[in-house]
């Protein structure tokens, strides 16, 4: 039994972001922050994937988080990024708590389709809602941190560090959760649900808990994305957004809580480079990358690191 190196690794990554961020150009900090936001969502998806569930509707909670942040900024002039993320996360978790009673009964393709339908309901609502800016969405002011508005030169760095703190903090908590009896049920459910029930554990309860945590993470990610990008629109609830998250989750693999963030960063990098090289064929490159990942790395990118360690 080797010692658990994940907390140390997380701390090292955070230190690297804080120190290295000073040297990074603005656009790289932006990509880093967006990767943190997406990584949070994918971290939640990873929890569900471990239990054998693929949600094609995680954009629902991502969008709820984003519109919560937008609503706070617009209606109450609350621009604090931590408050926004917390509120987005809390609201998403609340919705998931209610919907979870329904969804926890579903498996396989039906879980995916029902979550897809639910996210499309939100999309349909926002698109037709004048108050929420309809298809155009609306803009957000740059975030403040603890009531302080960083100067324009520093805001990207400050937000990136704040995002990294929240993201890696969440990763640490999830890492701890995965080692609790409830957290360990995930792979067991994927393996054989009936045996889990025979052991006296409630599969439905475990899935419900995982689902709510996943939603809370997605809500926080959505709020972070909203304040980083400075704009929100209903596309955030569309099925292609959910598709991207599943994409990253498959690319990353479920081997470690760090994998989702690595996956999101690589996704961002592929996206940026592909778009830069050839704006009209970036989707082609993404699709090819996904295919290669499914065929050659069925356990995701993280399996590369694991194998090297074993050899």
């Amino acid at each position: 039994m080797t010692r658990d190196r994940t907390p140390l690794l997380l701390a090292a990554i955070l230190a690297a972001v804080v120190a290295g961020g000073l040297a990074l150009p603005q656009w790289a900090l932006f990509i880093l922050t967006v990767a943190c936001a997406q990584g949070l969502v994918v971290l939640g998806l990873m929890l569900l994937l471990r239990a054998g569930l693929v949600s094609f509707g995680q954009a629902l909670y991502y969008c709820i988080g984003a519109y919560t942040a937008g609503g706070l900024a617009r209606a109450f002039k609350i621009g604090d990024i931590f408050v926004q993320m917390f509120a987005g996360s809390a609201l998403a978790a609340l919705v998931a708590l209610v919907l979870g009673f329904l969804l926890a009964r579903y498996r396989g393709i039906f879980f995916g389709l029902l979550s897809l339908a639910l996210s499309m309901i939100l999309y349909g609502l926002i698109v037709k809602s004048e108050a929420l800016g309809s298809t155009d969405g609306f803009n957000l002011l740059p975030s403040t941190l603890f009531g302080v508005r960083p100067s324009a030169a520093w805001v990207r760095y400050a937000v990136a560090v704040a995002a990294a703190c929240v993201a890696l903090g969440a990763a640490f908590l999830i890492h701890r959760f995965l080692n609790t009896p409830l957290g360990r049920l995930g792979p067991a459910i994927k393996d054989n649900e009936i045996r889990v029930e025979y052991m006296g554990a409630s599969v439905r309860y475990a899935i419900h808990v995982n689902y709510v945590i996943a939603a809370a993470l997605a809500g926080a990610g959505g709020a972070l994305a909203a304040s980083t990008v400075g704009h929100i629109d209903p596309e955030m609830a569309y099925w292609t957004t959910s598709g991207e998250f599943v994409f990253i989750a498959i690319l990353a693999g479920t081997g470690s809580v760090i994998a989702p963030f690595l996956g999101a960063l690589i996704f961002g990098a592929i996206h940026t480079i592909a778009y830069d090289v050839s704006p009209n064929t970036w989707q082609l490159s993404m699709g090819a990358a996904l295919l290669l990942a499914i065929v050659f790395l069925p356990e995701g990118l993280w399996s590369l690191f694991v194998r090297r360690k074993a050899a």
Binding site: Y106, F110, M120, K128, G287, L290, L291, I294
Partner: protein, 298 residues
């Protein structure tokens, strides 16, 4: 208050369109257990092929009445070019994998095809409305409708009848039922299962392309055309029951009428109601309205 007549007419036309666009999805799922995301890509491919080929056809001064045959030919052409390559070249190696993994494979293919379409046809819109206007219009309850819509309804009915007949009454249809029930046993008994998969997948994609090409005269064909069709088709086939042919018809009629009613009476909930119905059906009958109890295999 809007009268019921126009709501029904719009609903029937929209249902017919939905059925053509979605029936291939249920066919492919029913036989191969693949929820095919590239269905939307084939819809878009069909639309582009239809629009560009009829454009060329009419520009050459060839008889406009035959442009409907050109629409059909366009759908057939893109299907023959792309579908067998996808099934033989990639999907057949995936059949052993989980349903959800195959779904992701088709999602990756969908991303690739989205850009392939842009590479072939560029990003400018295509607009060829002649086949739409050619047949004049008819009147129901004081409102005029293009007669072209009747072609859609006729096509939908013909497809439904044709598919039902093929599946129930022909030798291949009966063999297909055996393949659906137990591919391994069918293979052991000498049925060419690979060929059934290839034909079914191609047929499903052809139906999507057909939906696209026959829609192309009514819209301007732009990139991203297929993206909406995917979820809409999902909704239709899920409501009726994945893999069920009568289910797809029922789903199309329900979604068509619901949407038409909401457009006339409450336009602000138009998109919402479709997915609300889908969620409700999934909540109360997860396997759809037309599903049978699934026998558990050991």
């Amino acid at each position: 208050m809007v009268q019921v007549g126009p709501v029904l007419v719009d609903g029937i036309i929209y249902s017919a369109w939905l059925f053509i666009a979605a029936v291939g999805l249920t066919l492919v799922y029913g036989v191969m257990k693949i929820l095919n995301v590239t269905h939307g890509s084939f819809y878009a491919l069909g639309a582009y092929a239809g629009a560009s080929l009829t454009g060329v056809w009419l520009a050459r001064g060839l008889p406009p009445m035959l442009s409907y045959a050109v629409l059909l030919g366009g759908a057939l052409l893109v299907t023959l070019v792309f579908a067998p390559v996808i099934e033989r070249g990639l999907l057949r190696f995936m059949y052993a994998k989980d349903e959800v993994v195959i779904l992701l494979v088709t999602y990756a293919l969908f991303l690739i095809l989205e850009d392939t379409i842009k590479l072939i046809w560029g990003v400018n819109p295509y607009f060829v409305a002649e086949p739409y206007a050619l047949l004049g219009s008819f009147e129901v309850g004081g409102l005029r409708y293009p007669t072209y819509n009747l072609i859609l309804v006729g096509l939908a009915l013909a497809l439904a009848a044709g598919l039902a007949w093929t599946l129930r009454a022909t030798r291949s249809g009966k063999l297909l039922a055996a393949v659906i029930h137990d591919p391994e046993m069918s293979r052991a008994l000498g049925v060419n299962v690979d060929r059934f998969y290839l034909v079914t997948f191609s047929l499903g994609c052809f139906l999507a392309a057909l939906g696209g090409s026959f829609t192309s005269p009514t819209v301007s064909v732009v990139p991203g055309l297929g993206v909406d069709v995917i979820v809409l088709s999902f909704a239709v086939v899920v409501i009726g029951g994945l893999g069920s042919l009568p289910g797809a018809a029922l789903g199309a009629v329900i979604v068509g009428l619901v949407r038409s009613a909401s457009v006339h009476y409450m336009p602000q909930v138009e998109l919402f109601v479709i997915y609300f119905v889908m969620a409700m059906v999934l909540a109360f009958r997860p396997r759809g309205l037309f599903s049978l109890a699934e026998p558990r295999r050991i």
